[in-house]
């Protein structure tokens, strides 16, 4: 039953969220956990698009980049408050998705893949090339977030903030899943033609979820910028888009909990691998291949299949 999968997701996440600060030995580890929450937020949004609606995006880091650069460029060039800048980033990201979404989402399969890929790369190219505006490949500083006079600082603070935002994101995503639109998205994933005949406005449904996924990514980007106090064009590059897609897929397409697990694996592993710095890419590539071959349906659905059916499905 989906209802219990919903509760399991919320409970497991809440348990991890509350317990981690007690288990993690240093602020370094808390920082890594914060990065996990941030990437997971983007992955949870992308899972709505990919896992639920079955629409691939190979350029999602572009939206992430827009959010990340909004908190850097808003204060610097427009004198905006970082929080307001983040909001502007969300709006901008959502508007871009709204604008390009309709023609792009008409495409299917590989054509959709290449169009989204192109979109992501274009965003990255602008961020990378407009040196005067963005600082170019060297990146740019982000001012400290000040909330009503409170200077947001410290690993633990950011851990709670990003985790709370993720919790909200997870809750909204789970709510969407169990609604007419959520059912419509899962339906068009399996058969667009049957969905249309059932009265579903397929184009509009895809557009809504595309915009939502873009906003999730932008919010994650803004959080990363504010947390790191620095952004580089790497946040928007192709590799990051692929990492986001991989998080969704290895966690298990269509599983919100899976998106978080996938984000955790892809974020923690490179940190662990810095010991073998030279081998980082090779191991990442190898890991992606092995996961895709041996856990094709993804970690969370794969594990859930081992549990008694009533618990999680």
């Amino acid at each position: 039953m989906r209802v219990s999968a919903r509760h399991a997701t919320l409970l497991l996440f809440l348990a991890a969220f509350a317990a981690l600060p007690l288990l993690l030995p240093s602020s370094f580890h808390l920082r890594v956990a914060t990065l996990v929450w941030i990437q997971a937020l983007a992955a949870v949004g992308l899972n709505l698009l990919m896992g639920l609606a079955g629409q691939v995006s190979l350029g999602h880091a572009g939206f992430f980049g827009i959010g990340a650069y909004a908190v850097a460029l808003g204060p610097r060039h427009l004198g905006l408050d970082p929080l307001l800048s983040a909001l502007a980033g969300l709006v901008l990201s959502g508007l871009l998705a709204l604008l390009v979404g309709r023609p792009i989402l008409r495409l299917r399969g590989h054509y959709l893949a290449v169009a989204t890929l192109g979109l992501g790369i274009l965003v990255w190219l602008v961020l990378n090339s407009e040196v005067a505006l963005t600082g170019g490949p060297d990146g740019i500083q982000v001012p400290r977030l000040v909330l009503f006079g409170w200077r947001v600082a410290g690993a633990e603070t950011w851990y709670w903030i990003t985790g709370a935002v993720l919790l909200l994101g997870v809750w909204l995503a789970l709510n969407l899943e169990d609604s007419p639109l959520g059912r419509a998205l899962r339906a068009l994933h399996d058969s667009e033609v049957a969905a249309r005949v059932a009265g579903i406005d397929v184009a509009r449904s895809k557009l809504v979820v595309f915009v939502m996924a873009a906003i999730y990514a932008a919010l994650a980007g803004s959080l990363l910028g504010l947390f790191n106090r620095f952004v580089t064009p790497q946040v928007a590059d192709f590799l990051h888009s692929i990492e986001l897609v991989t998080m969704v897929v290895i966690g298990g397409m269509g599983s919100t909990l899976g998106a978080i697990v996938g984000a955790a694996i892809l974020t923690v592993l490179p940190q662990a691998l810095t010991v073998f710095h030279d081998y980082e890419h090779a191991v990442l590539g190898l890991m992606i291949i092995l996961f895709m071959i041996f856990l094709r349906q993804g970690i969370v659905p794969g594990l859930a299949a081992l549990l008694p059916r009533r618990a999680v499905a």
Binding site: M1, L172, N175, L176, D178, S179, P180, L181, G182, R183, A184, R186, A187, H189, D190, S191, V193, A194, A195, R196, V197, A198, G199, I200, D201, V202, V208, G254
Partner: protein
Amino acid sequence: MSTPIIEARGVGISFGGVRALDDVSFAARAGEVFSIIGPNGAGKTTLFNIVSGLYRPDSGKVLLAGEDVTALPPHLLAARGLCRTFQNLQIFLRMTVLENVMVGRHLHEERGLIPALLRLPSVLRQNRATRARARELLAFVGLEKRADDPAGALPYGALKRLEIARALAAEPKVLLLDEPAAGCNAVETEEIDRLIVTIAERGVAVVLVEHDMKLVMRISTHILVLNHGRILAEGTPAEVRANPEVVAAYLGRHAAEAAHASG
């Protein structure tokens, strides 16, 4: 007789220079079982695809409740009360049996994004109502025991009935059924037979494409015979059965002549 609820007037379409349908007209009324038959490649499914808005005809019109709805997209046709099933099943295989039917309720649900995201009580109430209605429909087609199974786990004949339940969930005025009995055994065919009659009795215009002649002759009020994209004959089952052209198209010329000679 009442005015037709669904009507095609002089519909034609070509694919790559081949005239798949030419000047086909028909009209079906509420409560009627209107069957479209013909040999393979006669254009039956193509006609369905035009009527349900998947193809845009080169010529002719489609009228729903007297209004021109030619080439209106399927979801808008559905909103006006036209639903269909598919010859090659189009099931949401990743969803449960119950969820498949719940999707069929889409048009009758409030679909606001904000209430859904915030999981307002109204959304929860609506989910419950949708689920209850879907269960009723599953009971109607005899699948209530399989409600929580993944749709992919159902046998072929059951999937055919699941599609009917999903289409009924939209409360259509016109239901197009594309070979609902194909691949079903005798028992399953009889169940579908009974279902179709019941649906029509409730005032739905059922338009049926079917190969099983016994089924068609038994339940149809009206039959349209297509051959090579054109109308070959039209009439009541008795009239169609007596039409030598129809017999010829189905059995070949010689058999028809033989039947004529002996009869």
